[in-house]
């Protein structure tokens, strides 16, 4: 076929990866709740869809393997076997193998020997499961067949017509024209059907085969009438044809169906009634006498029933389907519909388009505030009113545009459930992962890049942080270790915490190692803890006494640091011996629009994120002469005079002398900000109130400037600096410490 499938193939790869991720998270949640039918279904669907799509592209390795996994999943879904931990592990391994096969397909390579043997090993294990389950299935079928006869007889009385006593299913299937083009061969379904039972009789119908001139060699024209003998269920038979369910006309009559059912069948099939009747006789489904009788009652029979009853009821009454199957079909339809709705909910958009939209919205916010400023200056009340209306809309557009790029971090976090599970199995520690703040949203590009460093941190925490069970018991801690992932927004940035309740970092060992590597000159006895912890981010630093499979090679932590720094983020560590450690990653939002609080110092404008501002108050110059703290309702509040900090004072004085800006100098205000539990007061001249700030990153020259998160443009066209409060406070603290140390 000369169709260009490469685009479609890319889509398939993306979708398949998504499905594999879903599959993984579903499997992991099944570990906690193995009976959740919804989730089992989700896993099955994922495998099924991958198999189906892979078949379209002729990726036979994937189809063959996924098919095996799907068979097992189907049995699980039907409740033939309980899902236990071993099986989930096996299915996870299968998922990984499928992912591996997918990679081979992406690279257009064929499977290597390693993957092949792994696949065979897994397939063998899957087969084993199937065999186990078969025993269970047989038992089920026995009880089912024991149940069936009573209902059959009861129904027969009322429906009339002679019963057909044979224990044989009748299946009529007409394949759609596109089945072959879809990469599926009806023969394989028939072969598979043969595994459900014995095909007693099969008639191939070529009635739909057109004349030679009209025939398309790649279309499928065949239909089949099949008599299948065996202990099976309608659902199982339907499953055989599931792949082509939408593309074939399938009728299944259970054993013991009445003549009326065959009558319905004859009516439903495309071929001529008499021809069909003969066919059924030929199949052994009907006797010639029965056929006559059937055709005779045809009219009144059909007319009466369809008039008064909904189709489902007729089907049940005619015993074509069991009641629970109708329910299942209905829920399946609903399922399919909701899936379609969900598909419709998403659109693939190129990231560049989003970026330019957000840029434009940023400009819109700025020019909007420009208009507002003009209206205020001109004291035009009507204009002011419409401006405020517009501002509200712009705000909504802004929020909407920002959300387009934001994704919840939960997806990234959930990936770690698998990491934790695998690692804890591997190293034999019982570790529980607690995830918090998974709804925290951050920029998609940041989310993509934060995965690797987080993985390193998690592995380190599990391998080195959390102690072995014996040690934990002797320290009086719960044997089960806890690893926590948390994310929250703080000060126009996002904080991601990885914390464990392990032994904490070992100060002495880090110092010894640092000396050995020549990272510190003296013995480091008076180094503050924070500085010591930072040493572990140095290249080649590893304190693990044993290099394990996971970590301890000393390559992880410096990679973590450089990855985070590449995102203009910081990482700091809090650690207490015997209690645990917390790695805190702070990432700035490189491009964002925040609700800010605008203030001015001299002729400079500054913005702090509004949610960090606790309160504002007037600074009484009489009560607080040049002191660097004040008494805030009995609490000591350190003050940071932005004027001094940024050296604005000099310029201001000159202006004062010129009598230009005298008022601002007289009355000062304190903005109380709260950052990560630390409170401080920023001393500023003027409070300008709430302001929508479009944060623009500073140029690369200023990347070393601490305490400034970016800049923003005011409506007047002036530039305001956005303060990064946590960094500002710690920098100010260091400045203050430094002169004392020098004295």
């Amino acid at each position: 076929m000369s169709l260009d499938l490469s685009d479609a193939l890319q889509t398939f790869f993306e979708e398949a990866r998504g499905l594999l991720e879903d599959m993984e998270s579903s499997l992991l949640s099944l570990e906690a709740e193995p009976d959740d039918a919804e989730v089992i279904n989700a896993v099955f669907r994922a495998a099924h869809t991958i198999k189906g799509s892979a078949g379209l592209f002729g990726l036979n390795d994937i189809v063959a393997f996924t098919h095996k996994a799907e068979n097992v999943l189907d049995r699980v879904r039907n409740g033939d076997v309980a899902l236990n931990e071993g099986l989930i592990g096996l299915l996870l391994a299968c998922r990984d193998h499928i992912a591996g096969l997918l990679d081979f397909a992406v690279d257009e390579r064929t499977m290597d020997a390693g993957a092949r043997s792994q696949g065979m090993a897994l397939a063998a294990q899957l087969d084993l499961c199937l065999d186990d389950k078969k025993a269970g299935a047989d038992a089920d079928a026995d009880s089912a067949s024991a149940r069936l006869p009573t209902t059959t007889e009861a129904q027969l009385q009322s429906a009339g017509g002679g019963p057909l006593t044979e224990d044989t299913w009748h299946i009529s299937v007409r394949f759609g024209l596109d089945v072959l083009r879809g990469g599926m061969d009806p023969l394989s379904f028939l072969r598979y059907l043969g595994r459900l039972g014995e095909i007693v009789h099969l008639t191939t119908l070529a009635d739909a085969l057109p004349t030679a001139a009209a025939m398309e060699p790649e279309a499928c024209y065949l239909g089949f009438e099949i008599r299948l003998q065996g202990d099976t269920s309608k659902a199982q038979i339907e499953n055989v044809f599931e792949f082509v369910r939408d593309d074939c006309d399938l009728h299944i009559l259970p054993p013991g169906s009445k003549l009326a059912d065959f009558l319905g069948l004859i009516g439903a099939l495309p071929e001529d009634n008499t021809r069909l009747g003969e066919l059924l006789v030929a199949c052994g489904a009907l006797t010639a006498h029965e056929l006559e009788e059937t055709l005779a009652v045809q009219e009144c029979e059909v007319g009466r029933e369809t008039l008064v009853q909904p189709l489902g009821e007729i089907l049940i009454q005619r015993q074509m389907v069991q009641p629970e199957l109708v329910d299942a079909a209905l829920s399946k339809q609903k399922d399919a519909r909701s899936r379609q709705a969900q598909e419709a909910k998403f659109i693939r958009v190129h990231a560049d388009k989003l970026d330019s939209l957000i840029n434009l919205v940023g400009e819109l916010v700025i020019s909007g505030s420009g208009v507002g400023l003009m209206a205020k200056r001109n004291k035009d009340v009507a204009l002011l009113e419409s401006v405020s209306g517009m501002a509200r809309l712009v705000e909504k557009i802004r929020d909407g545009a920002m959300h387009l790029r934001m994704v919840e971090i939960g997806e990234t976090f959930n990936r770690f459930r698998r990491v934790v599970r695998d690692v804890s199995k591997e190293i034999g520690k019982d570790i529980e992962l607690i995830i918090e703040g998974e709804n925290t949203e951050l920029d998609k590009t940041v989310v993509e890049k934060i995965g690797d460093p987080l993985t390193h941190l998690m592995r380190n925490a599990m391998d080195h942080g959390i102690e072995s069970a014996e040690l934990r018991a002797s320290r009086g801690k719960p044997v089960k270790g806890t690893l926590k992932l948390n994310a929250f927004h703080a000060a126009g940035g996002i904080v991601i915490e990885v914390s464990d309740d392990g032994g904490g970092l070992n100060r002495e060992r880090i110092l010894a190692k640092a000396r050995e590597k020549g990272l510190i000159a003296d013995n480091g006895a008076d180094m503050p803890d924070g500085e010591v912890w930072k040493l572990i981010f140095e290249a080649g630093f590893s304190t693990a006494e044993q290099v394990s499979n996971l970590s301890g090679r000393g390559v992880g932590m410096d990679v973590v640091r450089s990855n985070i720094e590449a995102l203009r983020g910081t990482v700091d560590i809090e650690s207490h011996a015997g209690v645990g450690s917390t790695f805190r990653i702070r990432l700035p939002l490189t491009l964002a629009i925040i609700n800010g609080f605008l203030m001015s110092v001299g002729d400079g404008h500054f913005v702090v994120p509004l949610d960090m501002v606790q309160e504002c108050m007037e600074l009484d110059p009489a009560r607080n002469p040049q002191r660097d703290y004040l008494n805030l309702r009995g609490e000591v509040l350190p003050l940071l005079r932005l004027k001094d900090h940024y050296g604005i004072k000099e310029r201001l004085r000159r202006k004062e002398q010129q009598g230009l800006n005298g008022r601002a100098a007289r009355r000062q205000n304190v903005v109380v900000v709260n950052s990560a539990g630390r409170k401080a007061g920023l001393v500023v001249d003027e409070l300008k109130g709430q302001f929508q700030a479009v944060i623009k990153p500073l140029g690369s020259i200023f990347t070393k400037v601490r305490g400034i998160a970016g800049s923003t443009i005011l409506g007047s066209g002036e530039v305001a600096l956005v303060l990064e409060v946590p960094a500002l406070l710690s920098e100010a603290a260091q400045e203050r410490v430094a002169p004392v140390a020098q004295v």
Binding site: L202, T204, L209, P217, Y221
Partner: protein
């Protein structure tokens, strides 16, 4: 997929070799139909057919039907194992009405007459 043909006393023998599957259906169809036009008696030797799928079966059925409609004779012979398997599955032996030689070890003729 290659088809060798031989003329012999007014009988046209075709020897398809390889897979009669969806991948070759498009190229196979004109060749087979063309053969029908060329002769009144056609023999199709299936001994070298390695794989047969639904599209292949359809082509064979089409040929047979066209041949019957035109009053010509089409004989299938030398069914390979792959062909036999498919004919067996689909119950087509009788439909074509040709004697099928079962593989070694099984005596008699497969495919009952209707």
């Amino acid at each position: 997929m290659e088809i060798r043909s031989e003329q012999n006393n007014g009988r046209l023998s075709l020897f398809p070799e390889g897979d009669m599957t969806i991948y070759h259906a498009a190229e196979l169809m004109p060749v087979l139909l063309d053969a029908l036009k060329q002769s009144d008696r056609i023999e199709l030797d299936l001994s070298k057919v390695c794989e047969l799928d639904t599209s292949g079966v359809q082509l064979l059925m089409l040929m047979k039907r066209e041949a019957v409609a035109a009053g010509k004779s089409l004989k299938l012979s030398g069914h390979s194992a792959a062909v036999l398997e498919v004919f067996e599955l689909l119950g087509l032996g009788g439909w074509f009405g040709d004697p099928q030689l079962l593989p070694a070890g099984v005596l008699g003729l497969g495919g009952s007459a209707i």
